[in-house]
């Protein structure tokens, strides 16, 4: 699996433009984002399958602190006649602050049926269960949430 990264064309922007042109190409991208207080970021991910048997897995993880704003635009496209592709685009957002804003539009355009394409988005605060557990061990709420955020960022699924 080749590993790719998002590029950073200018401040506040991250872009991924993935074109799988070679048969059997397999690409994995994991991008971890931490938006500090008041930070804004536009993320654009485009994955186009142009060759048979290609595989792409793109995972974007983001932790948002107070008033951070994340805009995520995704597009996965499988062209006609491009068979046996496997593509997954995932966005996981952990809201650690207040006043955050997330706008996500992961699109899929599939023109061939011999594929397995999926995408998923999840947006939430650290779970009550996890926070409670840590707090019951003496950590303050803020500390607990930060710890959870750190774990979230570190773990590669």
């Amino acid at each position: 699996m080749t590993k790719y990264k998002f590029t950073n064309p200018k401040k506040g922007e991250k872009k991924l433009n993935l074109e799988l042109k070679e048969s059997e190409e397999a690409v994995s991208v994991v991008e971890t984002i931490v938006l500090k207080k008041n930070e804004m970021l536009n993320v654009d991910a485009t994955v186009v399958h142009k060759a048979k048997n290609s595989l792409a897995k793109v995972l974007v993880k983001a932790v948002l602190y107070d008033n951070a704003e994340l805009t995520f635009r995704g597009n996965v496209k499988v062209e006609k006649n491009v068979t046996n592709c496997d593509s997954n685009l995932s966005l996981k957002v952990l809201l650690v602050g207040r006043g955050c804003k997330v706008i996500a539009s992961p699109a899929l355009e599939i023109e061939n049926n011999d594929v397995k394409c999926s995408h998923s988005v999840s947006i939430s605060k650290p779970s009550e269960k996890e926070t409670f557990y840590l707090m019951s061990r003496g950590l303050s709420k803020v500390f607990a949430e930060n710890l959870i955020a750190q774990g979230f960022v570190r773990v590669e699924p």
Binding site: R98, K101, V102, H119, V121, I123
Partner: protein, 463 residues
């Protein structure tokens, strides 16, 4: 398709059947005035229509969704059309439609009615008594035209409040030339046991070009409404643009089920929206089988705490069809929840697109939303798109969204065939299994017919 009651006169509904008319195509102020005059409408309604006409002219066509360039607005009868929009002779009915009728098991008499060949369908006394029972409870269930005549204040209070003419070009068009549709009011704490069917109110002419439906469920009430028909309705009208507005008051619950199977020459552009108040529940169950292009996104606006919206959408896109459907939920209050489940099937070059919106306003805390959209593409000429949008601003949201697109699972197919089930039937079973979570929400008759229809479509061969 069961139990059509069209005998207006028997049950005392008055609806002017025939007029002296000149068939006029196209849309202009004169025609709009004429429509209002013939219906003998109050002044405010005439103004409503005329305003909408201006809005219609000023709004552009949407630059997304289906390809609407084929609609010629000047070549359409907006009203005063010839009585028959269906075939004049049974023999003229397209073969593939007859085939579906036979397949679903519709008795010939009913088939002829659906084809418009027979003007009336024999009704059953039971519906007469159902209606009178409802009246005793204070339930109002009338055609929109009658509703306007008998309850003008109530209509004025709600009409256009969920979907104003300015909402989109087709809402404006409907607001301008609407005719037919249902007006329903359920009083406080009344729970209507049997689903209300649109077919009570519809006669051949009314079959849906620009229906306008308004449902008001007062506090604590419950009603389930059914619209449409699994049997393909043949219509020479190429444009169908309905508007449905629903108000679900505190603790009330409304379920609106549609099965759309217009013939494949129809552009079906519908705007449906529900406003839900405290602890109210709105359920849209939407089945899209027919039409050339459908653009329809049932929407739920969750306006007060505890409100809940559920949108179940099932879509089948076959040859030359583009189904652009989905759902919208807007959370405007704390502790509201929503769920959208969409299952679509594309076959024979068909295209299905899911368009969804989940919006959580800045001031809405603790809201939950879950969206699942799965698409099955059955052959390599067909296509499926997913265009979801999540706009999340409130505190402590719990949002999840999943989409899966692919072909029939080979492993599952092998399992079924290894048990002696021939491939075609196995594929049918898998397709029916795929839509099962939504199909089971339809009333049984629809569900069975849906299954038969799917099997029939599958017989066309699997790529």
């Amino acid at each position: 398709m069961v139990n059509l009651n069209l005998d207006n006169y028997k049950y005392g509904f008055s609806y002017p059947e025939e007029y002296v008319f000149k068939s006029k195509k196209g849309l202009n102020e004169d025609i709009v005035r004429e429509i209002s005059a013939i219906k003998d409408e109050p002044l405010w309604m005439r103004k409503f229509r005329l305003n909408a006409l201006d809005v219609f002219k000023s709004l552009p066509l949407p630059n997304w969704g289906g390809d609407l360039s084929g609609i010629n607005f000047d070549n359409i009868y907006y009203y005063l059309k010839p009585a028959r929009t269906q075939v004049k002779k049974w023999e003229d009915l397209p073969k593939d439609i007859k085939k579906t009728y036979d397949r679903i098991g519709i008795p010939e008499a009913e088939q002829k009615y659906l084809a418009g060949v027979k003007a009336q369908y024999e009704s059953e006394i039971v519906y007469g008594s159902l209606l009178s029972d409802l009246e005793k409870c204070g339930v109002i269930f009338l055609s929109m035209d009658e509703g306007l005549k008998k309850y003008p204040k109530l209509v004025k209070e709600y009409l256009g409040k969920a979907i104003p003419s300015t909402d989109n070009k087709f809402a404006a068009l409907n607001s301008c030339v609407w005719s037919g549709g249902s007006f329903i009011y359920i009083p406080k704490n009344v729970k209507v046991a049997l689903p209300l069917q649109a077919y009570f109110r519809i006669n051949a002419k009314n079959m849906g070009q620009f229906e306008r439906t308004l449902i008001i469920a007062d506090e604590g009430s419950f009603v389930s409404y059914l619209e449409g028909c699994t049997a393909s309705i043949y219509s020479t009208d190429s444009l169908h643009s309905a508007v449905v507005e629903i108000f679900v008051k505190k603790n009330a619950r409304v379920r609106y089920t549609t099965v759309q199977n217009w013939s494949k020459n129809v552009y079906n552009l519908v705007t449906k929206r529900a406003f839900v108040y405290q602890d109210g529940v709105m359920e849209w169950v939407d089945g899209n089988l027919g039409s050339k292009i459908t653009m329809k996104y049932p929407a739920v606006y969750l306006l007060e705490e505890g409100a809940k919206g559920i949108i179940l959408s099932m879509v089948f896109a076959g040859k030359n069809q583009h189904q652009d459907a989905g759902g919208k939920v807007v959370h405007l209050a704390n502790n509201t929840s929503s769920q959208i489940i969409s299952k679509s099937i594309s076959k024979n070059g068909g295209r299905s697109s899911f368009r969804g919106l989940v919006k959580i306003a800045k001031t809405s805390e603790n809201c939950k939303s879950n969206v699942v959209c799965d698409a099955l593409i059955l052959d390599k000429n067909s296509r499926s798109d997913t265009y979801p949008l999540m706009d999340i601003k409130g505190e402590n949201p719990q949002i999840s969204h999943e989409a899966l697109v692919g072909r029939i699972n080979e492993e599952q197919l092998f399992y079924l065939t290894s048990r002696g089930i021939p491939k075609q039937e196995a594929v049918s079973m898998l397709v029916n299994g795929f839509i099962e979570p939504i199909a089971k929400e339809f009333p049984m008759e629809y569900a069975m017919e849906l299954n038969s229809l799917i099997s029939l479509e599958m017989e066309g061969g699997v790529g």
